[in-house]
Amino acid sequence: MATRETAAPLAARPAGAGAPLLDVRGVTMRFPAVRGRTGGTVTALADLSLVVARGEFVALVGPSGGGKSTLLSIIAGLDTPTAGSVAVDGDPQAPRLGRVGYMPQRDLLLPWRTALDNAVAGLEVRGVPKAAAREQARALFADFGLAGFERAYPHALSGGMRQRVAFARTVLAARELLLLDEPFGALDALTRAGLQRWLLDIWGRLGATCLLVTHDVDEALLLADRVYVLTARPGRVRLERRVPLARPRRLEALAQLEVAALKAELLAALLEETSAAPGERVDVEGAPR
């Protein structure tokens, strides 16, 4: 039942050849301070650089309020950075709206559309004829464990199913590069664990490139090839680590000694950042540095 697209071979994993698919260089983002004219600006990101190779799965962890979502918005093409550049496939000028798949934490399904019609939203915007778009979505639904629910409305679906419909929508919109902004953050632990395994499996088969924002170190270790830890605001890369786990992975692998050590290191860095600038309060005080 799998179509050509969903049954893509395990795409060229970190081949090392050519430019990285995503190249973020020296990105700085400043916002005008929310209140008062004298306050000047708030710096959300400061000279942040990172790369994601084609077919790679990269996780981004950092304290809340550290500008991770801002970074994804910039990469998706929704915001323009104050300084720095974002290149996809080596081209910093290429338009990214419509080309980069962006998935926010909430599923944001339209309640007046069926699951299938929600999933084709990105294709529709791109101008793909309705019948062809639905055909693509239907093929993906079978693969996403959503077969039989094409005509269900979002309110009739469970949280996990809604998230899978949202993921299908993202993949259909742009499968080359997927930006996942805490996609499992709003789900209960068991559903989340199920979806993480599912994502591992699907990602392997899609041959997609993923940049995942999360605050869950376990999630990052389970899913990613590499992990970046960001600092508190203003966000920059604090450290970068490769996850020494073979694929396919299982949850049990997280118990391995070297992974446990890595986890401890990441957690320590994260905790230090969190206590350095307690996330929520920074916003109000206006970055007293």
Binding site: S73, L97, V100, R113, A121, G160, M161
Partner: protein, 306 residues
Amino acid sequence: MSTELDPRAPSTPSFAADARRVARRDGHDTSGAAAPTGEPGQAGLARLRLGGRLALQPWPALVLGAALLLLWQWYASRPEVDPLLLPAPTAVWTALVAQRGILWHHTLVTLGETAAGFAAALAAGFVLGAAIDFSWWLRRASYPLLVASQTIPIIALAPLLVLWFGFGLTSKVIVVLLVCFFPITVALSDGLRSADPELLKLYRSFGAGRLRLFWSVRLPGALPALFSGIRIAITYSIIGAIFSEYVGASDGLGYYIELKQHTFATAGVIAAIVVTALLSVALFLLTALVERLALPWYYAAGRGEH
């Protein structure tokens, strides 16, 4: 936040439980009851809400209405009450039956004016509500004028409109338009404005432009709010038409009321009022019905819950 799986869980991700749960709920939806299994209280609550909205449980209202009618009948038939000043319900009924042909004619005229005025208000409200939403400048410029337009007493304006546009249809349509377009415009523009910014951002990431956002995301999302405005407008519309006829017309329920008042045919006046009230209720129910048919998702998901 551990990601350890429950040891009893199957070793491969299985969504069978999800599917079963949903299928069960779906089954309930199609059978008409809104309650998920194991929550008996919710079915009753849903039915009550439905009944309140669509008058599916009219008994309390009927009992109270009958009691008031009886009281009226009793008081009106007392010897010291002049039937010219307060006719009994039976007299009103007699007038209603005797004049049914004439009343029917005037009702159709009033209904036609109302429909034309309401359609114009819907079109004007839609265009204005959308335009206000598209342009910050237009919003700032027109909102004060919109509000000011609602402070003009129709009682002062209607005679002028009759002077300007004559006794015919035009002056009635304009009055109905004036009373109806404001709630529609405001409801639509508020509905459009309340679109989820995250949702808009997501669609922008697909490459959607303003028009696409409007038609695919914001307008469908604003429809429940628009219908709230329409429900308010429709109840005003009949009153607007009748008032305008009362001021100057040669047809319509308002004209009929004015005529009967001049000849002290109080029973006829009240008969026309009864027709007016029935008309308003019928239009309101019609709107509610159209809303239900147009927004099945809104009711299925639970109103206001989004």
